[in-house]
């Protein structure tokens, strides 16, 4: 009795699982290429916001490595670095670094750096700063973030890489100094990291980005 009952239960549930699973798996196979493409397009859009697509000719999305430097890149997890090349020669990199000391929490940045060490562009990928105060680092709300374009480690000099209130050249927002301060510091750190590891960054062999690892990072918005 018990055995019979159990087997029937098992069969029913197993049957449903099997049918359902089959259908889903089928749909998965149908949609998989589209999904891959959508993910790629999404990341590319961010990348192209910081690196002019006209400058490179490689598949920047797949030319990716991960690096690890909690001190300078602000994250104790490996950080993706995308590399742009033209005719095989390094043009720029885009580093997904983190400003760990935002007002509310860490701020995820995408820092694009030309091969010569000047900033190609900076974007905020995700943050939790106070809406209305700290969120002016988003490009959508304020063009403050564009102020990094063209800067480099020497422009301004070391002392200048601060918000104005601390004696640097970058604006702060009224009523919110901490957020810009954190971003400026993180961008500066990222530049320093690039300076130190420039050669290796381009030399290292690319890993094909595991599809879900980067979709995860963007999902957290």
């Amino acid at each position: 009795m018990l055995r019979q009952y159990m087997t029937r239960s098992a069969l029913i549930l197993g049957l449903f699982a099997l049918t359902g699973g089959g259908l889903v798996a089928y749909i998965y196979q149908l949609t998989e290429p589209h999904i891959k493409e959508a993910e790629r397009a999404y990341t590319l859009r961010s990348l192209h916001a910081v690196i002019n697509p006209a400058l490179h000719d490689n598949d920047i999305f797949h030319d990716m490595i991960t690096v690890h430097d909690p001190r300078l890149l602000g994250s104790d997890k490996p950080v993706p670095v995308f590399r742009a090349r033209r005719d095989g020669k390094p043009v720029a990199v885009a580093i997904m670094s983190v400003a760990p000391d935002g007002y509310v929490g860490p701020i995820k940045l995408l820092v694009g750096i030309h091969a010569d060490g000047t900033l190609a562009g900076v974007r905020v990928l995700s943050h939790k700063e106070t809406p209305g105060l700290g969120d002016r680092i988003e490009e959508r709300r304020n063009n403050w973030i564009l102020g990094f374009n063209g800067r480099s480690l020497n422009n301004p000099q070391h002392k200048g890489w601060r918000v104005q209130r601390d004696g640097g050249i970058f604006d702060q927002f009224t009523g919110a100094t901490i957020t810009p301060r954190a971003v400026v510091k993180a961008v500066h750190n990222t530049l320093t990291y690039y300076q130190r590891h420039k050669e290796r960054l381009f030399a290292q062999k690319s890993v094909v980005p595991p599809a879900d690892s980067d979709d995860k990072s963007s999902k957290e918005r």
Binding site: M6, T7, S9, L13, A17, L18, G21, V24, A25, Q29
Partner: protein, 196 residues
């Protein structure tokens, strides 16, 4: 594709086995809920709820076949208790069942009674005394006021009379709500429904 099928199928079969096992191994019979519901009902046994007595109604509620607002003798108090027990929202009494009335008892005009025993057969709680061709009497303390004996009487000798108040049964009235809290228009009233 295949691995997906295998994995899900395996999970399904595993869980099916588990639940099938548990269903037999941990089988429970009986439903204590009915007892609890029955304990709340007033036991008037009047059938106004549409069921032949309080217990059948309790069973219907437990089976989720009947709503909780069908017992007029119990009135608001019973509805609220049932709602509490079953985790539902209280609602007003279903007016197709009847309305809440003050408690009554039956009274037989003994001089009219012809001793037909029809009322005895109707009374759900054996609150009527008497035998064929003899005068019948209500045992007042037993009568639930269900009115079931009224209709069968061929000579209309049974009346429902209000339960008499005495110093012992007198209740302190609720203090009247302050005038500013008088309900302004229809709708559920959170206040005690005034003095009794």
């Amino acid at each position: 594709m295949l691995s997906a099928l295998l994995a899900l199928g395996a999970l399904g079969i595993l869980f099916g086995l588990l639940l099938g096992y548990a269903a037999i191994r941990y089988k429970v019979e009986g439903d204590p809920l009915v007892e609890k519901i029955d304990a709340i009902l007033p036991q008037t046994q009047c059938g106004q709820c549409g069921y032949p007595g309080c217990r059948p109604y309790a069973e219907a509620i437990a089976r989720d076949e009947a709503d909780i607002n069908r017992c007029p003798p119990g009135g608001e108090t019973v509805i609220v208790s049932l709602a509490d027990l079953l985790g539902r929202d209280p609602k007003p009494l279903d007016d197709e069942c009847g309305e809440e009335k003050p408690k009554m008892v039956a009274y037989i005009h003994e001089e009219i009674c012809i001793g037909c025993t029809l009322c005895i057969q109707a009374c759900p709680v054996d609150a009527i005394l008497g035998a064929a061709k003899q005068m019948h009497t209500i045992i007042e303390s037993e009568c639930t006021g269900c009115e079931l004996c009224v209709a069968p009487c061929p000579v209309d000798c049974i009346d429902m009379v209000p339960v008499k108040q005495s110093l012992d049964t007198w209740k302190w009235p609720a203090p009247p709500p302050p005038p500013y809290e008088q309900p302004t228009d229809s709708g559920p009233d959170p206040q005690p429904a005034g003095a009794h």
